[in-house]
């Protein structure tokens, strides 16, 4: 915004000029002001009305919803808590401590899983009602997978911005060929997947050792970066069935681990893309002098590079967190009961023979969107800046 206050030269203006011409540089004319405000107010109404409707529907009961439209609580209809009671007051496991209890239980179960070859610890069954379970799952899955994705993605992005990679084209071709052979062997010849994968990998390393030096054509960092980013084009429906079968083969359907991994990979392209631009724009001199002082690459990355890119990191983290929080397709395929997330809870209100239970569904949606809206309001400037940097420089 400008604080230029100098007036246009003409002082005695006609009515039309007063209406249509700006009074000063950096100001708007009265007519333009009215038009701009009406458009902005109209659009705000368009944006807010669906949210308003969802919120008031959450306080209706089946009778009010089915009778027709009622617009104002207390004036038109008497708000009730039916939709909320159906979620949050079902049994004795719906107490306020349920979420904390569930997080502890998940931590215990993960430790039990890790130690299972050594000690025989039985995994505990969750004692929690459905909506709290889904809420906890959503939080745990999106936070852990965002962390994983940011760590792995920004490391890869940093490496691609600073280290020269020259993978050989022939090796990659060989890898693809062996992967295809392994897949065909498992599906049509009935070889066990584990045997096929091991033999394939061993063959790849042996062949790469033997023939690698004869290959000439190489790829560069730009090619690797493009390859990673292009994974975002992949529609989830292409990969979701094979991913389902992979997790089934190792018995991990309906676990948090499966969803965490899949979400992390799905968002890796965005993280790598945006973070790469932040890293590439940093002045390299700092890192070079640190290197001369004997810092390791991990040390440089952790102590110098990451703190410098904190705003970008925050924006990308927030974006990834939101995408994970809202994800639906993978959750439908990969979770059945224990690992269900909030979007599944929303969709589940459409399943019964009573039709859609709008008031209960809206209560779930409200619970689901409150955290993200708070985050959005607090951090929207961050996101705009972060996304813009990626978009312009990409």
């Amino acid at each position: 915004m400008s604080d230029a206050t100098y007036k246009l030269e003409k002082t005695n203006r006609t009515l039309m000029e007063r209406l249509f011409e700006p009074p000063a540089i950096g100001k708007m004319s009265p007519v333009a002001n009215v038009v701009a405000y009406s458009i902005l107010v109209f659009w705000s109404a368009f944006v807010l009305f669906p949210l308003y409707w969802v919120v008031i529907t959450a306080f209706k009961d089946s009778k009010v919803v089915n009778e027709g439209p009622y617009y104002l609580p207390f004036v038109d209809f008497q708000p009730t808590l039916d939709g909320w009671r159906a979620q949050f007051a079902t049994d004795q496991f719906c107490d306020p401590y349920a979420i904390g209890r569930q997080v502890l239980l998940l931590a215990y179960n993960s430790v039990a899983f890790v130690l299972s070859p050594l000690v025989n610890l039985q995994p505990m069954e969750p004692q929690i009602c459905k909506v709290y379970l889904a809420f906890t799952n959503s939080i745990v899955i999106s936070v852990v997978s965002t962390t994983l994705c940011i760590v792995i993605g920004s490391m890869a992005a940093y490496a691609l911005a600073r280290i020269q990679y020259k993978p050989k084209f022939g090796n990659i071709f060989m890898f693809v060929l062996l992967t295809l052979l392994a897949i065909v062997a498992t599906t049509y010849a009935g070889v066990h997947w584990f045997a096929a994968a091991t033999v394939g990998l061993a063959l790849f390393f042996l062949l790469a050792r033997a023939f690698g030096k004869h290959f000439r054509a190489r790829l560069g960092n730009g090619d690797i970066l493009f390859w990673i980013i292009s994974q975002r084009i992949l529609p989830p429906v292409v990969v979701v069935i094979p991913v389902y079968m992979m997790f089934q083969a190792v018995g991990m359907i309906d676990t948090h681990f499966a969803l965490i991994l899949v979400y992390a990979v799905a968002n890796l392209p965005i993280v790598v893309w945006l973070m790469h631009d932040f890293f590439a724009n940093l002045p390299i001199e700092l890192e070079e002098s640190a290197q001369l002082d004997g810092a390791t690459r991990l040390g440089i990355f952790w102590d110098i590079v990451l703190p410098l890119t904190r705003p970008g990191l925050a924006a990308v983290t927030l974006l990834t967190l939101i995408l994970n929080w809202n994800e639906y397709i993978f959750a439908v395929f990969l979770s059945t009961s224990k690992a269900q997330t909030m979007p599944i809870m929303v969709a589940a209100k459409n399943a019964g023979e009573r039709g859609i239970l709008w008031w209960e569904m809206c209560a779930v949606i409200v619970v689901m969107i409150i955290p993200v809206i708070i985050m959005a309001i607090l951090l929207q400037r961050f996101i705009a800046k972060g996304v813009l940097l990626g978009a312009v420089k990409g």
């Binding site: 950096g26 405000y37 439209p69 890869a156 280290i163 429906v237 990979v265 890796l268 959005a376 996304v387």
Partner: protein, 386 residues
């Protein structure tokens, strides 16, 4: 592989006779190039590349359930052939009988334009890789033009391919125009713009599932909030969900409600980066707002605009939640996107066809997005950096 400094290579650092043993930390640092990128590459290989190849197996097989899991039978390209030539043709491509004069004129015009474009790029001496890419884009353009001529311009029923393209092209255009317009308004010197900025940003945060149900509820003819309005204009017994065009447009409305904020925030940030001095200089010289926008602001934001459209396009091809919730693809298949088509086939346990449709979606997305990237985005970016 790495350019990390390696002190152990320097001779004379250690007295003779004292052999230096590398510590684990130093070994790790020497290979840091590999360790930095290995996790990302491994994860993408396992969860993106491997499943993509595995999908080929599905797409080329007939999959049957049996007592011990799935049984695959190799059937070559039968699943793809089915989508293009046999009983599934109407579902994927639409009804193709007959093509009227307008359709032919349109198709021939597109073919002529494409051939002229190819001729010009041959004359200007494009590399053979560039020519291959152009040939693929040209084939796609001609195929889509013929399809458009045979379905839309003749009034025939659409298939899921056309519906997906409708969502992408119409949705992205509307979202870009409105999003940029709002961003332009919010970049003007008006009071309370940070308030509007926060409000306009909210829909992006909401799960597509929630958006779908919210719009289904609001657009309900008898119980929705606009019931008096529908009754007033005499549409009491009309249901938009049984009208193909109305249903498609309402899905675009829902999609736009969610995605305009994305265009909005990016374009707003771009508009705020436009240099104020030039704009004010033009204002002092008496240029109108239209002139200022066209000649000063627009050239500076075009690169961002092209990129943001590309990002939006990539996501728009995957649309599945909104049509699934609002109309379940109905009436008939009028609002079914290709993702949804694949999802329905999967639900009907036709895994082979499901993978084939998903693959076709991938091919269409890759060709159209890379064409857009090569011929529009790169051009604008080069112009901006030149």
């Amino acid at each position: 592989m790495t350019n990390a400094n390696n002190t152990t290579d320097q001779p004379g650092l250690f007295p003779a006779g004292l052999s230096y043993r590398e510590t684990w930390g130093e070994w790790f640092d020497r290979h840091s190039g590999t360790f930095f990128i290995a996790p990302a590459v491994t994860l993408i290989l396992i969860f993106a590349i491997f499943p993509t190849f595995y999908s080929i197996v599905f797409a080329l097989s007939r999959v049957k359930f049996s007592a011990d899991g799935l049984k695959f039978r190799f059937v070559w390209f039968q699943n793809f052939q089915k989508q293009f030539l046999t009983n599934e043709q109407i579902h994927f491509l639409g009804r193709l009988e007959g093509m009227n004069a307008i359709g032919w004129i349109f198709s021939l015009a597109v073919i002529a334009a494409v051939v002229w474009w190819l001729y010009r790029s041959v004359r200007s001496g494009a590399s053979w890789i560039g020519m291959t890419g152009r040939l693929i884009s040209a084939a796609m353009a001609i195929g889509l033009a013929l399809l458009l001529g045979a379905t839309l311009l003749y009034g025939n029923q659409w298939g899921t391919l056309m519906t997906t393209l409708f969502y992408v092209v119409v949705g992205c255009s509307i979202q870009f125009v409105i999003g940029t317009g709002l961003a332009f308004l919010c970049s003007q010197p008006i009071a309370g713009k940070s308030f509007f900025r926060v409000i306009f940003f909210i829909p992006l945060m909401i799960t597509p599932l929630g958006v779908g149900y919210a719009f289904k509820m609001i657009l309900d003819i008898t119980k929705g909030p606009f019931q008096p309005f529908w009754e007033f204009i005499g549409l009491r017994d009309w249901a938009w969900s049984t009208d193909a065009w109305a249903a498609r447009w309402f899905i675009v409305v829902g999609d736009s409600w969610q995605w305009i904020p994305f265009i909005f925030i990016v374009m707003l940030a771009a508009l705020e980066n436009v240099s104020k001095d030039q704009v004010e200089a033009a204002q002092v010289d008496g240029a109108s707002s239209v002139q200022i926008f066209r000649d000063i602001i627009w050239p500076q934001i075009v690169p961002v605009a092209a990129t943001v459209i590309l990002i939006r396009m990539i996501e728009a091809f995957k649309i599945v939640d909104l049509p699934n919730i609002m109309t379940s693809g109905g009436p008939g298949i009028a609002t079914e996107s290709m993702s949804l088509h694949s999802f329905f086939l999967w639900r009907a346990n036709d895994y082979g066809s499901s993978a084939a449709v998903a693959y076709l979606l991938l091919i269409v997305t890759v060709i159209l997005c890379s064409s857009f990237f090569n011929y529009v985005v790169l051009k604008q970016l080069r112009k901006a950096h030149a």
